[in-house]
Each structure stands twice: as structure tokens, then as C-alpha cells.
């Protein structure tokens, strides 16, 4: 199987039914993508496939054949600095997925409202922050 990972051609062997999450973490050593529940509830495994946020625990690697996959390792966004400054990352385990979800929001909506941010991040659970500082960090990056 071939797909583009963070802008680079990538190929993996094995069954196309394997979870994209496992292929990323175990075959390609991109461990920034986390497993929090394995059933699409927590969003810790969020990655971008052709610009859409998906739960990589629910995606078979065969489904990304020929597509563009972006993980936290491929993200370069002012959001990352804002997450540090605003205290939006505490334990950090939800942070990669949260950043990717926020990134897609800002790609689509240059000036999101607080409610837009809450809606966009609703698929990504955080147990540390109460979301307040995450929302502040995302809003600070609105242009």
C-alpha cells in the first residue's frame, strides 16, 4: 500500500485491513498519534486524511491508499506555540489530535466563534484542561 505521509511517499506491507493507527505507530514509528479508546470516542488518534479529521483507530490502512495522511509529526502551525503559551497542553496525550482538529477548523473558518471551536473540538476528549485554555489558544490563532 502506498500513501503520502506528511508530504512524503510512504509504503507499507501487510493486510489492508490493519488499523491505520497501528500502521502509523508500529510500522512507521509515528507515535505522536495516540490510542485512547480504540473505538472512535476520544479522538486521541486523530489524523488528517485528505484534509479531513479522522479517527485512525477506525480507519483501515487500505482506505488511505493513494491519499494524503498528515499526523502531528507533519504539522507546522502557529497553533502549536499558542498551545504552549495558553496552557492548552497539560498531560499532552490529547494534544496531537486536538491540534489537528483545531488546524482543520482554522483552515476552513478564519474567524471562528467560541461555539465554532467547541463544536470542532467536540470529538477530542481532554481530561486535564476543562477545555478553556484550549479554546483560548485556538481563538488566539484566528486571523
Amino acid at each position: 500500500m502506498r500513501f503520502t505521509l506528511n508530504g512524503r511517499d510512504s509504503s507499507v506491507e501487510g493486510s489492508g485491513s490493519r488499523r491505520l493507527l497501528d500502521v502509523l505507530r508500529e510500522d512507521l514509528r509515528h507515535t505522536g498519534t495516540k490510542e485512547g479508546c480504540g473505538e472512535g470516542e476520544c479522538g486521541a488518534c486523530s489524523v488528517l486524511v485528505d484534509g479531513e479529521v479522522v479517527n485512525s483507530c477506525l480507519v483501515a490502512v487500505g482506505q488511505v491508499e493513494g491519499r494524503q495522511v498528515v499526523t502531528i509529526e507533519g504539522l507546522q502551525s502557529p497553533l502549536q506555540q499558542a498551545f504552549i503559551e495558553y496552557g492548552a497542553a497539560q498531560c499532552g496525550i490529547c494534544t496531537p489530535g486536538m491540534l489537528l482538529a483545531a488546524y482543520v477548523l482554522l483552515q476552513r473558518t478564519r474567524r471562528p466563534s467560541e461555539d465554532d471551536v467547541r463544536e470542532a473540538l467536540a470529538g477530542n476528549l481532554c481530561r486535564c484542561t476543562g477545555y478553556t485554555k484550549i479554546i483560548e489558544a485556538v481563538l488566539s490563532c484566528a486571523t
Binding site: E41, G92, I93
Partner: protein
């Protein structure tokens, strides 16, 4: 030079966490490692009569560990020696999901296949699930002050019983450990954990290892909230037993389902208050009965009960107090540490009791709070005289000042309401805990002009790594960039005690500050050779006294205070309660790092909102029914209220730069404030949380 303390400097682990570089346990690549798995009991109570491995299966591909393979004591070292590492053949089962066997294999499919070829047979016994019918008592505590007189002329007596439910910590990174044989002939365990030396002690005992042979290293840890206080000892021992038998590294990483089904929860409880009050509002007595459910094994239950009992009066001064507390055994998975540690349970009852007394007297509850609240010079239920940094009135005033007007709802089936609570929380270990522990830190001045802090206190998201560097930098008078925290590895760092009990910034942070000051003084006075190492251990101030037998004395070195105001919207058709706004004014002594301090209050506050509204565990036959993340719900960004934090600085003389511990405090206030807000909105009182739609509708219907 700009000082670091009081400024929100960039957190030390920030860059690695926003780039995906931070390595959590399951991210670590360990060549040759096999996967481990735990086989657990399917009954709640009984004895194991047979453990059968299907002879048709090829067991040569699998490592199997039973209780017979434990070289040391079959005990998870903690308070009481009741919890086995693995239940043995012929041995007792006290709850569902109790570990019996361990398996390891090269790949996950072999492991899965092996697990399907094991049969465990039991002789069943009648389990106990109802804490109010349980007869086995883990521990009892009684606290007395003055005398509670049964009937007195002119005294109104208000009685009410409250119930609180189980709650899952729900750190987003599940439990996990990797164990491998080390060069000392022992075992090294890398894991997701709060307390390296708890795990170290447990590992030594079960595997019969020396101090040097057992090595525990904390990986980056994806949240704890108490859930990684005691349970990681179990995971670590299991991984190490498999690694020992397999002679190779073992990865034992729980999936979410196993983590939810098997690991500890917040203690459920039933709390009854009888409050005597004069018609003019004078508090005459508080008579409080606390019952907590410890579950199948003791774990930390006695200490949880202790914190519950000491906080049971709320932050109020009452001349006559009787607190009778007990924790019982049931055949559910053991309950354990969770942020607040008993105090949220008893404070929930205490704060709602203020509301009920106010209602009986026809007075505003906020006026009663102001009248009853602990002030400088007052004594608590344990007879502790408060001699400094009593922030009750400061936080009440600050919160009231900040509370915006509650608007009326445009839609008539949505009713809005507001509630308030006032709480306190003891910082640090209870009683003589810190004295007995005598936590130690070390500090090194290195030849390259940098400084290193050696401590077992862990970073679990709360900011330990950053705050310790701030404290050391200012005490040394150097730029924060020259200070770092060494990794939490028991072969390198001293035992600073566990990362629990709102003690890290205040107790251990103070030791860091003192060690840094000593280094500075020595570097200034003499021509010291580098590297220079200094150690500092906790010494109990002479003014603090505690009597464990009578439960009298200074229960905590100091208390932090919080006032919470919650606004809710109740849908009278669906019964859904939405918390729209949360204001918390917190007396933290000194905000060492305002952004991190706010982060504690906001995050803990939302955990409490979840506990009060949507986080419910349904039990059936001693098992959690909703043991998946699809069914155990925690608040999302859409559910979360707007949270506003007001940091009130009211310095504590023995805290580092005046700081008090506030890690757990934010868990205490929101639940009673939310229930009071629901009453404000609907006119009905709930005595039990979570305030699920079913409970709200039932309460409204029976009105």
C-alpha cells in the same frame, strides 16, 4: 534579572507535547518485547477450584504466569496486605476482574488465542454489593469536638442524607508498563505512573528484589488524577513477573475497556448530616455519619476515609461536632485514589446541608456561610487552631463580585439557576504523614554552570517539571534556562514521596527551594568543587501536632479555600442539566505559575461538573455495565461550561514563596454548587449525584 516565580513561563514539556515527540509508555520501542495480557475473574465472590489450560493448544508459544510463579510475597504492597498480585488456585476471589493469570506471546493474535483456551472454575459465594448492607469494615474514624446534645431547647435540627456515585478518573492514556530484566539481576519497569517509589516498593516485595535490583522509571504520563497512584504497582508487578519468566521484555498496555472494567474508581458514599442551629442562625452542632464503599480490597481506603472525615464539616466553625465515619468492603472492584480523595464526597453533603439549614431558617445560604465560616483563630473539628492564611472570606467575596447576572431564559421549558459553594482542602498529607514520609529531594550544581533537580515527584500534566525549575531558578538567582529536572528514575532520584495529596508544589517544592538556596549559599561562601550535590528532607515544623489515636490536632499544615458559583440551565422536558458557567475563586497562597494554576482549577472543575451531572457508572452483579468510552461519558468541549478562575493570593509562611497546594481543591466545589443551582432553577432538591435526566425528572414529578 527577571524572576521566574509568579510568571507563566513556557512549560518545560510544552514543545515535545505539541510536536508528538513526547514518549509515553506505549510509544517506546523495545526490541524483542512480547505482549502481555491479564486473565481476570468472571465472578464477584468465591474460590478458584480449577485453572485449566486446554491441552490441545500449543502452549510452547506462550508464557503463562500464575500465583505459584511469584518469587516474593503475593501481595500488592500498600496499606494493608490484603490484595494479592494474582489470585491463587484454592484462593479467594473478592471482585470481578480480579487478576488470576498472566499471559505473554510474541504477537497479539497468539495471545488472544491462548486466552480463549483457558478455563477457570469457581465455587461461588453470595456477593455483597450494597454498601449499606455490607458488614466487613475496613476502617472506622471518629472525630469529636465539644458535645452533641440530642435535644436542646430552641435548637432547630435539620437532618438529611446524601449519596454520591462512582467516578472513573479517565486519564486519556490507559494504564501500561514495560518490564525488562536488568544488569543488576533484577527488573526495570518503565510505566505510566504518579508514584515511582510506590511501584518500587511493590516490585521489591513481590519479586523479592533488592533496592538496587528494582528500578522504576516514569515515562511521559498521559494523566493520572489519582488513578495512577496505586494501580500502576499492580501493572508493573504483572509485567515484571512475565518478563522474569519469559526472560525478555514485556509490554503490558491496557486497552480502554480493560482499564475501565478493572481499575479503581472514586469511592461512592452515603453521608447523613444532623445539624443543630439556633433560630438566629448560630451553628450549635454538626453530627455527621459517613459511609464509603471500599470495594473488594482495602487499597487506599483508610486514608480516603480520613480525608473525607476531616473535611466533613465544610469550612465552618462549629463548637460541637461528632463525625462517625466508616468504610466497608463490598464485592466490587476496589475503589481508590481520585483527585479530592474523599473530600469531594463529604463536602458535597456539607455544602448542601448549609442550603437546607438556610431554607429551614428562611435565610440566604450565603449569609449563613459568612456567619459560620472559619476565620483566623478559629478551630476545626480536630481542634486545629488556624493561625494563618485563612482565605474563606476572601474567596467568597471574590466570587460574588465576579458573578454576572443570571439571565432569564427565552424558552420557557429551559429554566436557569445559580448555586454557590464554599470549600476548603488540606494541602499535603494528613496528620503525621509528611513527618513519617520525610520526602527528600537533591539538587546538583554541575560544572557546566547548569543545575539539576533530582526528585521522584512526577510530571503528569499539572506542571511539576516547570514549577520546580521556577522555584530553583529564583532561589539560586539564575535564569530558568539553567535549571532542569532529572528523569524520574528510582536508581537516580531520591524518594520525594508520591505525587498525590496536593503536596507536590507545596511540600516538595519547598524542599526544592531550600536545596537551591543551600547550593547558592555554599557556592557564594566557599570555592566549592563542582559538581556539588545537596539533599534536603522534610522536617515537620515543631508547631504541628497530630494524635492519630484521638484524631486531634493539626490535620494538615494549611488549607486552601475555594468559592464556586455555578449557573445551570435545566430542560424541564428532557431533564437535561447543562452547566453554562462556572466561576471559581481560589485562595492558592501564591500563584507560582498563574496559567498552570488556572489549568488545575479549570480541569478539576470540569471533572467535578462531570461527576455532578453525566458521569454515572451502572453496576450489575458487581461489574460496571458501561465499561467503554462509548457508554461512560465525560464532558466534551461542547458540554463544558465557560470557566472563569480568580486566583486569590493569601500567602502561607511555610509554602514555597507562599504557595499552598491546590491540585485537588477544584474537585470539591462544583458538585454542591450545581445541585443548588438546579434547585434555584426548578425548586427541587436532589440528594444524590450525578444529576441525571432521570433523577431530575423524577424529582420534579414527585414535587
Amino acid at each position: 534579572m527577571v524572576t521566574a516565580v509568579g510568571r507563566s513561563v513556557p512549560r518545560r514539556d510544552g514543545a515535545s507535547k505539541v510536536t508528538g515527540e513526547a514518549r509515553y509508555t506505549d510509544d517506546l520501542v523495545v526490541p524483542g518485547a512480547w505482549y502481555g495480557q491479564t486473565v481476570r475473574s468472571t465472578i464477584a465472590r468465591g474460590t478458584i477450584t480449577a485453572i485449566e489450560l486446554d491441552p490441545a493448544f500449543d502452549w510452547s508459544r506462550v508464557v503463562v504466569v500464575t500465583a505459584a510463579d511469584i518469587p516474593g510475597d503475593n501481595v500488592v504492597q500498600l496499606i494493608r496486605d490484603d490484595q494479592p498480585v494474582l489470585a491463587r488456585l484454592g484462593g479467594e476471589i473478592r471482585h470481578k476482574e480480579e487478576p488470576i493469570l498472566l499471559l505473554a506471546a510474541e504477537d497479539r493474535s497468539t495471545l488472544q488465542e491462548a486466552a480463549e483456551h483457558i478455563r477457570i472454575q469457581y465455587a461461588m459465594q453470595e456477593p455483597v454489593f450494597d454498601l449499606e448492607r455490607a458488614t466487613e469494615v475496613y476502617t472506622r474514624i471518629e472525630i469529636r469536638k465539644g458535645e452533641v446534645v440530642e435535644v436542646e431547647e430552641g435548637v432547630e435540627v435539620v437532618t438529611r442524607t446524601f449519596r454520591v456515585g462512582l467516578q472513573e478518573q479517565l486519564y486519556i492514556e490507559p494504564q501500561g508498563a514495560i518490564a525488562y530484566p536488568n544488569e543488576q539481576g533484577g527488573m526495570t519497569v518503565v510505566g505510566s505512573l504518579q508514584c515511582p517509589y510506590y511501584v518500587h516498593r511493590a516490585l521489591k516485595r513481590a519479586l523479592k528484589l533488592s533496592d538496587e535490583q528494582a528500578i522504576v522509571i516514569q515515562a511521559e504520563t498521559g494523566g493520572g488524577f489519582g488513578g495512577k497512584e496505586e494501580y500502576p504497582s499492580m501493572v508493573a508487578i504483572h509485567a515484571a513477573l512475565l518478563a522474569r519468566k519469559a526472560g525478555r521484555p514485556i509490554r503490558l498496555i491496557y486497552d480502554r475497556h480493560e482499564d475501565l472494567a478493572a481499575t479503581t474508581k472514586r469511592h461512592p458514599g452515603v453521608i447523613t448530616h444532623r445539624t443543630g442551629v439556633n433560630k438566629d442562625g448560630t451553628l450549635v452542632f454538626q453530627d455527621i455519619d459517613i459511609l464509603l464503599d471500599g470495594g473488594g480490597y482495602c487499597t487506599l481506603t483508610p486514608v480516603v476515609l480520613s480525608r473525607a472525615a476531616i473535611h466533613a464539616t465544610g469550612p465552618y466553625s462549629c463548637p460541637n461536632v461528632r463525625i462517625r465515619a466508616r468504610a466497608v468492603a463490598t464485592n466490587t472492584p476496589p475503589n481508590g485514589a481520585f483527585r479530592g480523595f474523599g473530600a469531594p464526597q463529604s463536602l458535597f453533603a456539607a455544602e448542601l446541608m448549609v442550603e437546607h439549614v438556610a431554607e429551614r431558617l428562611g435565610r440566604a445560604s450565603v449569609d449563613l456561610r459568612r456567619r459560620w465560616m472559619l476565620r483566623l483563630g478559629d478551630t476545626t473539628a480536630t481542634g486545629q487552631k488556624l493561625t494563618e492564611s485563612v482565605g474563606s472570606e476572601l474567596v467568597l467575596d471574590a466570587a460574588l463580585k465576579a458573578a454576572p447576572h443570571v439571565g432569564t431564559s427565552a424558552r420557557r421549558h429551559l429554566r436557569r439557576g445559580r448555586g454557590l459553594s464554599l470549600v476548603f482542602h488540606g494541602s499535603g498529607f494528613t496528620g503525621s504523614g509528611e513527618k513519617k514520609l520525610s520526602g527528600t529531594v537533591a539538587m546538583e550544581a554541575l560544572a557546566d554552570g547548569t543545575f539539576q533537580i533530582l526528585t521522584a515527584s512526577t510530571e503528569i500534566g499539572q506542571g511539576t517539571r516547570t514549577i520546580f525549575c521556577q522555584l530553583a531558578a529564583d532561589a539560586l538567582g539564575v535564569a530558568i534556562e539553567r535549571v532542569r529536572v532529572a528523569p524520574q528514575d528510582t536508581s537516580k532520584v531520591p524518594d520525594s514521596g508520591p505525587t498525590v495529596a496536593s503536596r507536590t508544589a507545596m511540600i516538595v517544592g519547598r524542599l526544592v527551594q531550600e536545596a537551591a538556596s543551600e547550593i547558592k549559599a555554599r557556592l557564594l561562601q566557599h570555592k566549592e568543587r563542582l559538581p556539588l550535590r545537596v539533599e534536603r528532607s522534610y522536617i515537620q515544623p515543631e508547631s504541628l501536632h497530630w494524635d492519630e489515636a484521638t484524631y486531634q490536632g493539626d490535620a494538615y499544615p494549611i488549607y486552601a479555600y475555594a468559592c464556586t458559583i455555578a449557573d445551570v440551565e435545566v430542560d424541564m422536558i428532557t431533564g437535561i442539566v447543562r452547566v453554562t458557567d462556572l466561576i471559581s475563586a481560589v485562595d492558592c497562597g501564591k500563584a507560582l505559575h498563574p496559567v498552570l494554576a488556572e489549568g488545575q482549577i479549570e480541569g478539576g472543575g470540569l471533572q467535578a461538573v462531570g461527576w455532578a451531572t453525566i458521569e454515572e457508572i451502572k453496576m450489575k452483579d458487581g461489574a460496571y455495565q458501561n465499561d467503554r468510552l462509548a457508554t461512560y461519558l465525560i464532558p466534551t468541549a461542547l458540554d463544558a461550561p465557560r470557566i472563569r478562575t480568580i486566583l486569590v493570593e493569601n500567602p502561607y509562611s511555610r509554602g514555597p514563596f507562599g504557595a499552598k497546594g491546590i491540585g485537588e481543591l477544584p474537585m470539591d466545589g462544583p458538585a454542591p454548587a450545581i445541585v443548588a443551582a438546579i434547585h434555584d432553577a426548578t425548586g427541587v432538591w436532589l440528594d444524590e449525584i450525578p444529576a441525571t435526566p432521570e433523577k431530575v425528572l423524577a424529582a420534579c414529578a414527585s414535587r
